[in-house]
């Protein structure tokens, strides 16, 4: 749809009549749409933000539309594809290399400001070779991270999934032995020392680790990874470090992962997990903290939610009300490629539902 027509549609839906409201709202929305929102990857072909917004607002009662628009104007946190890529590009130099430097500095008692000395140290090179990078989902962007390292991450050090088959694990260890040999660090039993687990976003942390009271077991991706790393001899049990690097995560997720992973690693005698978050989303962002009573009423209104999306995967979050999203996170967050279900339903509700979300989500699981 042409921009001008989309704008007219939005004005009609909002019932704007005077010359006041349009210049206050439309240029901002058009600028953001052009800069970010139009590029949401789940919009259908030819569909753009302003018309989607008009159609989305049309679902609300006229008296609720200005509150819904305020949700978009004042609370929405949209992390675009370009922004996420930028985070990934900074991750290697600003985080991964820095951790290696810290380790060398501590092991050999070199002051941390002597960066040249640390970077020239043989141990620094050895740690580069014995680093393993695993993606925890398809959002991990392992390809971008590898390219951002300018060739410092070898092809056999990085894998887009955390479930390594025996054959793949064997190949990786063989390759590691060869590269260590070539660099002058011969070893009969090569192991990885630094494990980097990568993912793009966490809203609640439940998918990484949770405690199932019924079975008295830890579940999620992290327990599985720890087990497998030890089973396959990928790491030297006496000398390794595991980092979970998330490009973005909420404070709720960070606290959850840190708390439960500490319980888990202590119980099982594993090395503690070190969490590294490039762009934390603080608790103030959560809509449940908003003092806007009209907005709270809008989110609590059952007419603006569809609980058909609640399935067994959703229940893992501990709530059965879709309104505030998975685990009641009540986030206003949208990622350029998909909207996390930790956000409020009004943002991610799939297109086939009534009401639907402003940035409809495609689920990882077949939910419906």
């Amino acid at each position: 749809m042409r921009d001008q027509n989309a704008a007219k549609m939005l004005a009609k839906v909002m019932g704007w009549e005077d010359l006041e409201a349009v210049p206050q709202v439309l240029p901002t929305l058009q600028l953001l749409a052009d800069f970010k929102y139009d590029h949401y990857q789940r919009f259908g072909p030819g569909r753009r933000f302003i018309e989607s917004l008009a159609l989305w607002l049309h679902q609300f009662e006229p008296q609720d539309r200005s509150t819904a628009l305020r949700l978009v104007l004042d609370h929405l946190v949209f992390i675009s594809d370009a922004e996420l890529s930028h985070l990934v590009r900074t991750a290697y130099r600003d985080w991964i290399v820095q951790e290696r430097m810290r380790l060398v500095s501590e092991e050999h008692e070199i002051p941390s400001f002597k960066v040249q000395e640390i970077a020239r140290h043989r141990r620094f090179e050895q740690l580069r070779l014995t680093s393993l990078y695993l993606g925890l989902s398809d959002g991990a962007r392992t390809n971008e991270l590898r390219r951002a390292s300018d060739g410092e991450i070898g092809n056999e050090q990085i894998w887009q999934a955390y479930e390594l088959g025996d054959e793949k694990a064997g190949d990786m260890l063989d390759e590691l032995a060869a590269s260590l040999q070539k660099a002058g660090f011969p070893s009969d039993a090569p192991h990885f020392n630094l494990i980097w687990l990568l993912d793009d976003f966490s809203g609640s942390g439940n998918t990484y680790i949770r405690y199932d009271g019924a079975s008295r077991r830890f579940k999620g991706k992290l327990p599985k990874i720890y087990q497998r790393l030890h089973q396959r001899g990928m790491v030297d049990p006496s000398h390794y470090e595991v980092f979970l690097m998330l490009y973005t995560a909420t404070r709720q997720a960070i606290d959850h992962i840190e708390y439960w992973s500490e319980r888990f690693t202590t119980d099982h005698g594993f090395k503690p997990l070190q969490v590294r978050i490039l762009c934390p989303i603080e608790s103030e962002v959560s809509l449940s903290r908003s003092s806007d009573t009209e907005l709270q009423a809008l989110l609590a209104n059952p007419a603006y939610c569809n609980n058909s999306v609640v399935d067994k995967n959703f229940l893992v979050g501990g709530t059965d009300d879709a309104g505030l999203g998975f685990a009641g996170c009540a986030l206003p967050v949208v990622l350029g490629h998909n909207t996390p279900n930790n956000s409020v339903f009004l943002l991610w509700g799939p297109e086939q539902f009534k009401p639907h979300g402003l940035f409809p989500r495609v689920s990882r699981h077949r939910e419906f």
């Binding site: 921009d3 001008q4 704008a7 004005a11 010359l19 349009v22 210049p23 439309l26 139009d38 302003i50």
Partner: protein, 638 residues
Amino acid sequence: MAYNTNPFLERMSERTTSDMEFVRLFSPKILEKLDEDAFDGAVHMFRSAPGAGKTTLLRAFTPSALRAFWNSRNRPELSESFQKLLNRGLLTEDDSPQLLGVFLSCASGFADLPSSEGLQQEGLFRALLDCRIVLRTLRSLGALLGLSAPEQLAEISLDYATVPRLQGIPERRNALELATWAEEHEQRVYAQLDSFIEPTSATLPSHLRFEGVLWLQSIQFLYEGRVVAGQRLLMVDDMHKLRRRQRALLIDDLTVMRPSIPVWLAERTVALGTELLSQGVREGRDLREYNLDRMWSDPKGANQFVSYAQNILDRRMKNQDAVPAGSFTQCLRDKLVSSEVRSQVADGIQRFRNEVERHQSNLRYAQWLARADQYTVDQNLESLLELYVTRILLVRDASKRQLSLDLTLTEEELEDRDSSQLRGAAELFMHEELGIPYYFGFERLCVMATNNVEELLALAAALYVGLQTKQVLRKSEPILSPLEQDKLLREAAGRKREFIPKSHTEGTRAQRLLDSIGAFCYEQTFAPNAPYAPGVTGVRLSRSELTKLTAPSNPLGPNGIILQRVLAECAAENLLVQRESQATGSRDSGTVFYLNRSLCAHYGLPLQMGGWRDVSVGELMKWMERRLTPIRKSQEAI
């Protein structure tokens, strides 16, 4: 592109716009105002507030812009520009442009030079300017000849037969060699400046005179066996960015040199500093000054500015597709319809009735009031205006009347006392008391721009937002009504006032002073008898007050110096418009400081110039430090 930019917010003088875009939006009307002798061999100084169009004017004579004019000579929208350049002898029908316009900006680099006194620093400044003139000339020559690569400069040979003996600029065989020398020379200057070691006078390039100008006016360029670029024009922009000493040196040296080619120097009026308040005419045979702000202030100027403004805005209007319109003026309705302001008219009539209640029994006004009664029947704008005129005349008469025979005043007497100024005041009173639109229509928009293109564009941008909005709202009338124009223009004026503290060295004081002048003028304007109809929009400092302010002995102390600075800066930035007032039998001569016309709209004052009141320097100093609040009405903005 989902985000529609506002075509009135683009600034065409910026180098970011392409030459084709520039010539399409360039309004040739300015060329009419350019003096005939502006292309004579002499130093020509162009001064104005920012946004009056200096850089745009200069850019129009650069080779790439001239070529763009020439290449588009057959396009209807550019035929006027081409014709005007043709009449000036700057372009010809058959041959590509021959005027070599060399554009140089002082915005970067020169102020980096060491500021210490002495011949060596002066020499360094001259050396840097010389090599930049040479380099810019050769690059401009490449653009004029349509050369696509810098290496092609090697094909241009240089003939030094008529060049006087130069010490600083070497005689190289071709343009490429000379350009290489100029680049290296410039690098040497900066290498020396950047070095930690005190440079020795032997290593630093130093020139004893501005040889770049001598070289430019006498060198001959030969390309493909013929002499090219016979006409020359040197343009130096942003002179106000130079250090004070550098600026004085450049102007003095060039003036003494008496160049045989036109040398245009352009600067903001702010470069004059406090000289502005006591500026004498320094114009002579070798230095000619042009003030772009005053270019439009002669009797014909106002009308010319309207057509210039229309030309600029219409060209921009063609550059967008969000608002379907032929011209900008078509988008502004300039007639107010009574039905639009019915409730205000009714309110106004009721007010009139209440206010003349006390005169009902007075025989003296019986005829006037009877006439007014007829008007109260017709509830329209014309009647309301008549009632307001009557009301002002009643107040005037009642306040002036001495003990005399109460003779009935006739209708003829009322008509005799009526005048266009009085009607102007009545119209303004209606705006102030009833909210009936006053600031609308294309002509008033042009007046509000205070002869400044940038201000015109800022106001037009605000109106354009309104037009866009009307499109979005699918209004039955896609053009702006007087009510809408009035509102949008006053909001834009409010934003201008808000911005003052951010754009001035003494911004907060300047804003306080202007607000106080606005409040003072408001008081004078809205006195019930409208004594200075249509209103007061400026204050005057008499010659003796100005002498107090500018005296070298500084009798007013530090506050006097600050006031001098604030006034000068306000005048330089077009926030106050200076006009000299002649001495009469009863009063001294002096300088009137009129408020910028956009600010007049913000303070609710009329747009006509003329009404002013004498103030003292002491009052201005007080206002500058403590904002004056009007007694009659506390203005929202103050």
